[in-house]
């Protein structure tokens, strides 16, 4: 049996791709964390506000997890009895996972960079944390949109 025409395999592959958004979050949170450590070295009291900014690029990983989970739930992998999917159905799941998988990675990395700059901003002007958060949230918009599209697509697939 050719594995690429196995619907169930394709669906699980889709869930994996969605979960890959975590790569971006890992990198993004990492970048922000380095900047945060630098700022906290100067002023340990800023731990709280820098931590908030560091957490922001983490959401893409959660969005990826979310989509992966919905796929797994929908094909019944978590309940035990996995549905028999046609190649086309499996392909649909795979396709639907792409937006969050791809956009998640890239947006999280860039959000991490913006968050790192935001942390520098907080280092100099602690009262401006709201602005730093909004700058980072601007980047996240596109991950939110991708999450939404992935979700709506998966929601529309009938099995």
């Amino acid at each position: 049996m050719n594995i690429l025409t196995n619907g169930n395999f394709l669906a699980i592959l889709g869930a994996s791709v969605a979960a890959l958004a975590g790569i971006g979050s890992a990198i993004g949170v990492g970048i922000a964390g380095q900047a945060a450590a630098g700022v906290v070295a100067e002023d340990p009291k800023k731990f709280g506000s820098t931590l908030i900014l560091q957490a922001l690029p983490g959401t893409q990983g959660i969005y990826g997890l979310l989509i992966a989970f919905i796929i797994l739930n929908k094909i019944g992998l978590l309940g035990g009895g996995m549905a028999e999917l046609s190649a086309a159905q499996g392909g649909f799941f795979f396709a639907a996972s792409l937006p969050i998988g791809v956009v998640g990675i890239i947006s999280a990395i860039h959000q991490g960079k913006v968050a790192a700059s935001g942390i520098m901003l907080v280092g100099k002007r602690p009262e401006e944390i709201a602005k730093a958060m909004v700058y980072a949230a601007m980047v996240e918009t596109y991950a939110v949109l991708a999450l939404l599209i992935s979700f709506l697509m998966i929601n529309g697939i009938t099995i």
Binding site: L65, A130, A137, L148
Partner: protein
């Protein structure tokens, strides 16, 4: 609106009454004394007045304050009593405050003593570090039994030193042996970086031996001012360390003993801050030989209070309305529901005095959007109850109080939407029922379950978005009409209203009310024509008017992207729900036995704490973003200066006037 109206005040008084008058103004706490830098350079003024001010005094106070700060910080460290979660100011009457300050000489003595203690503590710590380093550097030589003060004898020379760990010791000894057989080599010890070696050779062959050693990267180690063997010295140093730590303990005990003075020292701190501020504000004033001049702002509603206070002095004063278009400092005043949301406005930027306070319009939307994005009864209640009990227990002030109130309201909204969407800690309760009793009990949402009907909620998210944007545009229209630009309001806001509603009806209207699509089509066309005709009105020439009119229709993309941005209301709401159900599923994996139930409880605790933290942060940030980018973008300009009256900026004591 909710920007407090300010009046301009100028006072001319006699120098002999100056300090009393400043004290009274400070007690009132409603007068901002603005800087008079422009008058100093104004030729009309410069001949008569000089800048007042007493910078040396201010510096003196600052030095004292920073010393006391240091004392308080170390007292804080040695204070073993339980510290409250939030530090609040003690309430104290002004009479009591003045009285206790009278005896501050004793407190100042205490401060000096504690400073001495801190200084000697630092010295002991430095000494301790030094000794520890010395021990560290002697440790490798512990096995070297030649007294360290013996260097060269009459016929021999001694080398002590290190070579890098990577070199081959055997090769080194071979080389040495080849050169001379009257040489004693000994490896004392090694660590991960280097070997510690000593060589005894004839003085006459010293240079040859050194030549070889140099090839192996030998570095001389000398022991300055040490007598006896390394091992003896280590013992000596250990003894010294013990003594030092005893000394340290005594000093620390003394500092701990001074902890009861903390309250008095804090009182002194506040007193010094008040005095410093009184002296600092002089820099904003002008003076002649016998008089002084103050200019500043007071809120209009405190006018009488200020007049009353000033009438007690032999001074001239004048309180005026600000001139047309003159910018004045901003203080916001709102009712108790809206007030906490001022902090969201402040985080963006205060309005300028010609603008409008957006807090009133923003507050309900912020609250609703926050709730929609977190949307869980459990999370909402926890948030509200936590904030409420903290607010009850501690007398908090300022930003932190506003923030807690804000989260209290947002928690209620979160719980409300949780009921609407049927989310009580996600699906924890049905999951628990299933695990324990195998029942198919579910909690019905009051409205819809977003997981099952995401499209419905998506449409409603957009509807909320349109309402939000229209509200922003309405505020803009109000401002335009207020300033007398009625036509601008009709063309720029009214026509867009019509155009957007028309478009929406044309595209989606038939699905709701059959036939409304036709109306929508005509509305779209009429208002599009209207926009084309009016949007280029500032341009000259009929052609460029029309071109910019047509181009303005392109703005629909910005409205579209604004509206689409509200899809985050659905997406973040879903994120909370889905992570909750992941937690439930993980927790239920153990099955119905004691370990399964234990696993369920642990998974719930950890999973929901995580979910709550990350999604509450998301809701806070994204609700703010929707206000700042989409809503404020429609009408708001920041750039106001905060009203900064001369008040007692005390840190530890809240000084009130009357007896309690």
């Amino acid at each position: 609106m909710a920007i407090v109206k300010m009046n301009k005040i100028s006072i001319i008084g006699l120098n002999k009454e100056k300090s009393l008058l400043i004290k009274d103004i400070m007690d009132l706490g409603v007068v901002e004394i603005s800087s008079q830098d422009s008058k100093i350079t104004d030729p009309e003024w410069i001949n008569f007045v000089k800048r007042d001010g007493n910078e040396t005094e201010v510096l003196n106070y600052d030095a004292k304050i920073s010393k006391i700060n240091e004392v308080l910080a170390s007292l804080e460290k040695y204070d073993n009593s339980k510290k409250p979660l939030f530090s609040t100011r003690r309430t104290i009457t002004s009479v009591e405050f003045e009285q206790r300050i009278l005896s501050s000489a004793k407190t100042e003595e205490n401060v000096t003593q504690i400073l001495e203690l801190i200084k000697s503590l630092n010295e002991v710590s430095t000494e301790e570090n030094k000794t520890e380093t010395a021990i560290m550097s002697l440790k490798p030589w512990a096995m070297y039994d030649v007294p360290l003060d013996i260097g060269d004898t009459r016929y021999t020379s001694i080398f002590t030193g290190v070579v890098p760990n990577i070199i081959d010791i055997e090769k080194l000894t071979n080389d040495l042996e080849q050169k001379t057989d009257r040489c004693y080599f000994r490896k004392i010890s090694s660590d991960k970086d280097q070997h510690y070696i000593s060589i005894i050779c004839l003085s006459s062959e010293k240079d040859d031996v050194y030549e070889i050693l140099k090839q192996y990267g030998f570095n001389n180690v000398t022991f300055k001012d040490l007598e006896g063997t390394a091992a003896e010295n280590i013992v000596k140093y250990d003894q010294k360390l013990k003594e030092l730590s005893q000394k340290k303990e005594i000093i620390e005990k003394n500092i701990t003993g001074a902890v009861p003075y903390k309250e008095e020292i804090q009182l002194l701190y506040d007193h010094l801050v008040i005095e410093r501020d009184k002296n600092k504000i002089l820099g904003n004033m002008l003076k002649t030989d016998t008089t002084f001049y103050i200019e500043g702002w007071i809120p209009e509603n405190s006018k009488e209070k200020v007049e009353q206070a000033l009438n007690a002095y032999q001074c001239w004063y004048e309180i005026n309305q600000p001139e047309e278009g003159e910018q004045y400092p901003i203080a916001l005043s709102n009712n108790s529901f809206v007030q906490p949301f001022e902090s969201i406005t402040e985080l963006y930027s205060l309005p300028s005095s010609s603008n409008i306070d957006p807090t009133l319009f923003m507050a309900p939307f912020y609250c609703i959007f926050f709730g929609l994005m977190l949307a869980d009864v459990g999370y909402g209640l926890i948030m509200s109850i936590l904030c409420f009990s903290v607010l009850k227990k501690f007398k908090l002030e300022g930003t932190i109080q506003k923030m807690l109130k804000l989260f209290f309201y947002c928690g209620i909204s979160t719980a409300f939407w949780g009921v609407m969407f049927g989310s009580w800690f996600g699906d924890a309760i049905p999951a628990a029922a299933k695990l324990l009793f195998n029942s198919d009990f579910t909690i019905k949402p009051l409205w819809i379950n977003p997981m099952e009907e995401p499209m419905t909620l998506l449409v409603f998210s957009f509807v909320f978005g349109v309402i939000h944007l229209f509200a922003g545009m309405a505020v803009k229209a109000y401002m335009l009409i207020r300033d007398g630009n009625v036509l601008d309001a009709v063309f720029d806001i009214g026509f867009w209203y019509g155009f957007i509603i028309g478009l929406a009806l044309m595209l989606f209207g038939n699905a709701i009310i059959p036939g409304s699509g036709q109306i929508g089509k005509w509305m779209t066309i009429i208002f599009a024509v209207g926009l084309i005709l009016t949007q280029g009105r500032s341009k000259t020439g009929i052609v460029s008017k029309l071109i910019s009119g047509v181009l303005s229709l392109y703005n629909i993309t910005s409205y579209l992207s604004d509206i689409l941005s509200y899809s985050r209301l659905l997406a973040l709401g879903l994120a909370t729900g889905v992570v909750s159900s992941v937690v439930s599923i993980l927790g239920s994996m153990g099955g119905r036995n004691i370990f399964g139930i234990l696993l369920f409880v642990i998974a719930m605790l950890i999973g929901h704490s995580f979910n709550f933290a990350i999604n509450a942060l998301g809701a806070f940030v994204h609700a703010a973003r929707l206000q700042y980018v989409e809503f404020f973008g429609k009408f708001y300009e920041g750039g106001g200066e905060q009203f900064n009256p001369l008040i007692k900026k005390t840190k530890y004591n809240k000084i009130i006037k009357e007896e309690i």
